[in-house]
């Protein structure tokens, strides 16, 4: 782990007065390699190293902890601060219903996460999950089954419906008739580069102005995370990110990159295939994980 590696790097520093630039740079080479291996965007890595260097160089070597621990602490804090240690709860509209639009690349975990969120909200609200993926084979069926298994109300398209805006319209009507105060719209996966499909999301936003636009991102995503998140953010103004499949062994550096590039808070972590596998995002734990 980082702390242990820093111990050996800084061992020879015991008894010296201040952390010099040369000392810190040795440690930062290690941090750079570690962050890149964790899939943190290389531009974000550069910026991070700069701010860590700024905080560490010239610091007095403390009595109470080793220099290695000192620098490791600075590194962890920089990462955690970047991702935001304040928990960022789901926004609830002052004027119900709250509408949550779930978006993201193909296969990221939107459908599963839609039901996870609904299940979490079911204790205090009357959520309705809506099947707006009219493209993927059996997508509507998948959402319907997951909703039934989690005992969450479901609304889907008429048979043969091709127009998502009609489904959104129908869902709003259905929700008001059934007193659902949170509507979660599951959408088809799409490429940020697909202009036509990004426009479909923009049109859905206009038809049902969302309280939250949540980007679902696979924790195993590599260097493309910044481009993807920025494109979705530019087009749709994201309000939150859900990082899925964190129950795997991916270090998850995409989390850092996304936050840094868009400023959008990571609100939740998907930690399993079950609809109960949802946690509030913890930046400090994530920082530890990214640094390995």
């Amino acid at each position: 782990a980082l702390r242990e590696r820093f111990e050996s790097i800084f061992d020879r520093l015991k008894g010296r007065g201040k952390l010099t630039e040369a000392d810190v740079d040795v440690a930062l080479r290690d941090v750079r390699r570690s962050l890149l291996e964790a899939d943190v965007d290389y531009k974000v890595v550069k910026a991070l190293l700069e701010s860590i260097r700024g905080r560490a160089v010239g610091k007095d070597v403390l009595e109470s902890i080793t220099p290695g621990q000192q620098v490791a602490t600075i590194v962890y804090e920089e990462l955690a601060d970047l991702m935001g240690t304040e928990p960022s709860p789901l926004a609830i509209s002052p004027k119900p219903p709250s509408i949550y639009l779930m978006v993201g690349l193909q296969g990221g975990g939107k459908t599963t996460s839609t039901v996870k969120l609904a299940r979490r909200l079911a204790g205090s609200h009357r959520p309705l999950v809506v099947a707006c993926d009219l493209r993927r084979p059996a997508a509507v069926e998948q959402l319907k089954i997951l909703a039934a298994q989690s005992r969450v109300p479901f609304y889907g398209p008429e048979h043969g419906e091709k127009d998502v805006l009609r489904v959104v319209e129908g869902a709003l009507e259905y929700a008001s008739g059934h007193l659902n105060d949170v509507i979660l719209l599951d959408t088809a996966g799409r490429l940020h580069a697909d202009e036509e499909l990004m426009e479909e999301l923009a049109a859905m936003k206009r038809a049902a102005p969302p309280t939250e636009v949540l980007l679902v991102v696979d924790a195993m995503t590599g260097q493309e995370a910044v481009k993807v998140a920025s494109a979705f953010h530019e087009r749709l103004r994201l309000t939150g990110v859900l990082l899925s499949k964190l129950d795997g062994d991916a270090r998850g550096g995409a989390a850092l990159a996304i936050r840094k590039a868009t400023g959008v808070p990571i609100k939740f972590a998907g930690v399993g295939e079950g609809t109960d596998a949802l946690e509030v995002f913890d930046a400090r734990r994530m920082a530890q994980r990214i640094l390995g």
Partner: protein, 282 residues
């Protein structure tokens, strides 16, 4: 671009390393590839960045082409059953790839059967059945929650008794770090291996192009569990470069056989080394 006529200076080498890293090649391999190019450039006295492009492209292409079956699609023969087992982490594109392969081989006049061995995920069998309708291919399935290995067993029996040319086995997505799920997958593979007789078995890792360094861990773990005969690099129509396949080729000699280029039935092509290298370096 990077190779258009600047000086070959330390900043050039840094930027080249960044191009590779941003393409998900990985920090360690990117560094060693840049070292290899520096060395080759010295030996050949290449003085311009334009000259470096061709040299680097051929270094990368060679590393890939040296891997047996790199870019070679699966070629089933009539009269000998070929089993194609699709494995990989959740959401990578296995079921869609199964459907695309079924469509392709059915069009070529081969007898194809598909096994819906994902008995876990909601509507997994339904999704594969729709591909079965699109391709005119029979799908062997059981209820959600039934034994995945049993479905594979039944499908293989059906394939052998009906004289099918290809059996495509779709499996549930699973994170390679989940020991019990990898054990389940090994059981499916064992049963297919035990029952296949003279049939050929191809085990393909379905890998999303957007994956970072975890893609290498996926390949290593799935390979040591099942011995992979190739990778399908899906969602290559995305902007991601899929550079992790260089590390996979380097460390495990596993060839990329196909790329997925979209969600439609024709969106699957044999992997092309030259095209991949060109896209990585642009």
């Amino acid at each position: 671009g990077l190779f258009s006529g600047g000086a070959i200076d330390p900043e050039f080498w840094d930027r080249l390393e960044e191009v590779l890293i941003s393409g998900d090649v990985g920090a360690a391999l990117s560094q060693s590839l840049v070292e290899q190019l520096k060395q080759a450039a010295r030996e050949r006295r290449v003085a311009t960045t334009e000259g470096l492009y061709g040299l680097f492209a051929s270094i990368l292409a060679q590393r890939l082409s040296e891997v047996p079956l790199m870019g070679r699609p699966v070629e089933p023969e009539k009269g000998v059953l070929t089993i194609v087992l699709l494995v990989g982490v959740n959401g990578s594109g296995k079921t869609t790839t199964a459907g695309k392969l079924a469509c392709k081989w059915a069009k070529e006049g081969l007898e194809v059967i598909m096994a819906a061995s994902d008995t876990f995920r909601a509507a997994a069998a339904e999704q594969l059945k729709i591909w079965g309708e699109r391709s005119g291919v029979r799908v062997v399935a059981q209820q959600q929650g039934s034994d995945a290995a049993a479905v594979a067993f039944d499908a293989l029996a059906a394939a052998r008794s009906s004289g099918a040319d290809v059996l495509i086995v779709d499996t549930a997505g699973r994170l390679h770090s989940k020991h019990n799920l990898m054990e389940e997958l090994k059981k499916i593979a064992r049963i297919l291996d035990r029952e296949r007789g003279e049939s050929k078995l191809e085990t393909l890792l379905v890998l999303d192009s957007v994956m970072g360094q975890n893609g290498l861990a996926q390949a290593k773990t799935f390979n040591s569990a099942l011995s992979l005969s190739g990778v399908v690099l899906t969602k290559y129509d995305n902007t991601a470069k899929g550079g992790i396949i260089l590390a996979i080729a380097d460390e495990m000699k596993t060839p990329v056989r196909y790329v997925g280029l979209g969600e439609g039935e024709d969106d699957l092509r044999p992997f092309d080394v030259e095209e991949f290298v060109r896209a990585l370096l642009e």
